[in-house]
C-alpha cells in the first residue's frame, strides 16, 4: 500500500498533530519569472541600485536590467537532467513553479502532510560580495514564499532564508520573519567561511533563544566563486564529479560547528543538513571521537564526545538515498548513524534526483520508517511543523 493510500483510508484531519503522517523536509518552489518574482519585494532604493525603477528609465531599461540581474549560481557545470520535466504544468512554465501542481504532485500524490519549502534559484546569495543586497534578497524571498506558497496551502512550511555575510542583518530578518511560525527553520546559505566561525554566533544565539532550528543545503556555488564555500583539493571538472564530492563541503561544516563549541555554547541549537548525504557520517563520528580522545585539550570546551553532539543536535535528510548493491549495507549504515534519531525524510521535488518515498524508503523497517517519515521531524521542528 502506498503512503497516499494509507492516508486515504485513515482520518485525514490535518490540524490534529497526531495525524501528521509524513513530513517532507525539502521541496524547492521555483520562480515563474526568474528573480523578478523576488525583486518585486525589494525596497525602491535597492532596486535603484540595480537600475530598476529609476526616474527617467525607459521601460525597456527596466526590463533589460531585470533580466540582467543575477545571483551567483552553478554556472560551471551543466546538468542536462536538471529539474524533473514532468513537474511543468504546461509547456510555457518552469518546472516546479506552480503551487497548485506541486500540491497535486507532491502533497496529494504521496500523502505528505507537511512540506518544508527551501530556496531554489536564489540560495547563491551567500556568495554575493554585497552583503546588503544579499540580505535584501533574502527578505524578498521570505516575503515571496509566504505570499505565493505558504498562503496557498497550510501543509507548506518554509525555511527562513538569511544571507550570512552580515550576521546583524541576518538576526534582524530572523526576528522579523520568525513571528510567522510557518517558517519552521532558519535557512542558512553559506559563504566562504565554515559554519563554526565565531562571526556567525549572533545567528546561532537568536536561533537558540527563539528555539528555531537551523538548516543548510547545497547551493551550487561550492568551488565556483572565491566568496562561496571552497572545494577541497581543487576544482572539479564535471557536474557528476562536483555533485558526488559536494558532501565533503558539508562534512567540513559539520566538523567546524562541533570543534568551535557551537553546540556547547547554544544548548537549544539544532541543525539539519539537508541533501548533504549520510554515508560519510560514520567516518566523521569515529575519526572525530578518536582525535578528541587523544587531543582533548585542543578543544577543551567540548564536554562530551564529538559524536554525541552530532547525534543529539544534528539531523540529516534522506534524499538522495544511497543505493548500495547489497541492501544490508544500508541497514548497517542506518545503525551506525542512529538513523532512528538523526534521519528525516525528503523528496527534493522538483529536482532531477527526487526520491519517490514509496520506493526509496522501502528499505526501511516499519519502526524506522515511522521515525524517518514523521516522528523525528516533529521533535526537531516542534510547534512550527504542527
Amino acid at each position: 500500500m502506498t503512503i497516499a493510500q494509507e492516508r486515504a483510508t485513515s482520518d485525514a484531519r490535518r490540524d490534529d498533530p497526531t495525524k501528521i503522517r509524513v513530513v517532507d523536509c525539502d521541496v524547492h518552489p521555483q520562480f515563474v519569472d526568474g528573480l523578478w518574482d523576488v525583486l518585486q519585494y525589494l525596497p525602491r532604493d535597492m532596486l535603484a541600485r540595480i537600475g530598476i525603477g529609476r526616474t527617467g528609465n525607459r521601460p525597456e531599461d527596466d526590463a533589460a536590467n531585470r533580466r540582467g540581474f543575477r545571483v551567483p549560481a552553478n554556472t560551471n557545470y551543466n546538468n542536462i537532467v536538471g529539474l524533473r520535466r514532468d513537474t511543468k504544468y504546461d509547456a510555457e512554465h518552469v518546472p516546479g513553479s506552480n503551487p497548485q501542481y506541486a500540491r497535486e504532485q507532491v502533497l496529494d500524490e504521496y500523502g505528505i502532510d507537511r512540506a518544508v519549502l527551501l530556496p531554489g534559484g536564489i540560495q547563491g546569495i551567500g556568495a554575493m560580495p554585497d552583503a546588503d543586497m544579499a540580505a535584501a534578497l533574502a527578505t524578498g524571498w521570505n516575503r515571496w514564499v509566504s505570499d505565493h506558497w505558504l498562503d496557498f496551502d497550510d501543509r507548506f512550511r518554509s525555511g527562513l532564508l538569511i544571507a550570512p555575510q552580515d550576521p546583524a542583518l541576518a538576526v534582524k530578518e530572523i526576528q522579523r520573519a520568525s513571528i510567522d511560525k510557518r517558517f519552521c527553520q532558519v535557512e542558512m546559505t553559506l559563504s566562504n567561511k565554515l559554519m563554526g566561525d565565531r562571526s556567525y554566533n549572533p545567528i546561532y544565539e537568536i536561533a537558540n533563544e527563539l528555539d528555531i532550528p537551523i538548516g543548510t543545503h547545497p547551493i551550487g556555488t561550492e568551488g565556483g566563486f572565491p566568496t562561496a564555500p571552497s572545494w577541497p583539493g581543487g576544482t572539479p571538472t564535471y557536474y557528476v564529479e562536483w555533485h558526488t564530492g559536494m558532501t565533503t563541503v558539508y562534512e567540513a561544516n559539520l566538523i567546524s560547528l562541533v570543534a568551535n563549541g557551537t553546540f556547547e555554547r547554544y544548548p537549544n541549537l539544532r541543525i539539519v543538513f539537508v541533501e548533504c548525504g549520510i554515508a560519510w557520517l560514520p567516518n566523521v563520528l569515529w575519526r572525530f571521537d578518536k582525535n578528541w580522545q587523544a587531543l582533548r585539550d585542543d578543544l577543551p570546551w567540548l564536554k562530551k564526545r564529538p559524536s554525541e553532539y552530532i547525534l543529539e543536535r544534528c539531523r540529516f535528510t534522506t534524499q538522495p538515498m544511497v543505493e548500495p548493491d547489497n541492501p544490508k549495507h544500508l541497514d548497517y549504515l542506518f545503525e551506525m548513524i542512529e538513523a532512528h534519531r538523526t534521519l528525516m525524510f525528503s523528496t527534493d521535488y522538483p529536482h532531477w534526483d527526487f526520491d519517490n518515498p514509496n520506493r526509496a524508503l522501502s528499505v526501511l523497517s516499519d519502526d524506522l520508517r515511522q521515525r524517518v517519515l514523521v516522528d523525528t521531524a516533529i521533535e526537531f521542528y516542534k510547534d512550527r511543523i504542527l
Binding site: V81, D86, W352, F354, D355, N356, R359
Partner: protein, 121 residues
C-alpha cells in the same frame, strides 16, 4: 494467453516520438509506444528505478561510450531518458545504457496490420 490490443493508426506515431496508453489500473496496463526509426516498440510505462512515467521523458541521442575526453554523439532518436533521474534506455532493446548491472524495461511485441498498430500483451 496474449491478446492483441489495438493502439491506433500507425502513422500517428511518427519517428522519434512516443505516446502513452492506459488499458487498466495495473502498472502493466500503462504502456508507452514509440517509433524508433520506423520500428514500433512498446514497453510498460514505468522506470524500473523508482517507477517514474517514462512517457514524460525525452527521446533523443546521447554521448556513446568512449575513451577519456573523447566525445561521440550517437544513437540519435534511440534513447529514452527518464524524467526523474535521467536513466537512459535504448529504445530498441529496452535496456539501460550504463555499463554494468543493466536494467530492462518490460517489452511487448508490436505488429501493424492494414495500417493499424497493435501491441501483443
Amino acid at each position: 494467453m496474449p491478446t492483441r490490443t489495438e493502439i491506433g493508426p500507425a502513422e500517428k506515431i511518427t519517428p522519434g516520438t512516443m505516446h502513452s496508453f492506459t488499458f487498466g489500473d495495473r502498472e502493466i496496463d500503462k504502456l508507452l509506444v514509440a517509433n524508433v526509426h520506423g520500428q514500433f516498440v512498446a514497453y510498460v510505462d514505468s522506470c524500473p528505478h523508482q517507477g517514474a512515467r517514462l512517457s514524460g521523458g525525452t527521446i533523443g541521442g546521447t554521448l556513446l561510450e568512449s575513451d577519456p575526453q573523447d566525445y561521440q554523439y550517437g544513437l540519435d532518436n534511440c534513447v529514452l531518458r527518464c524524467p526523474w533521474h535521467g536513466w537512459e534506455f535504448d529504445l530498441r532493446t529496452g535496456e539501460t545504457l550504463f555499463a554494468t548491472q543493466k536494467r530492462r524495461l518490460i517489452k511487448f511485441k508490436t505488429e501493424v496490420v492494414d495500417g493499424v498498430l497493435y501491441v501483443i500483451r
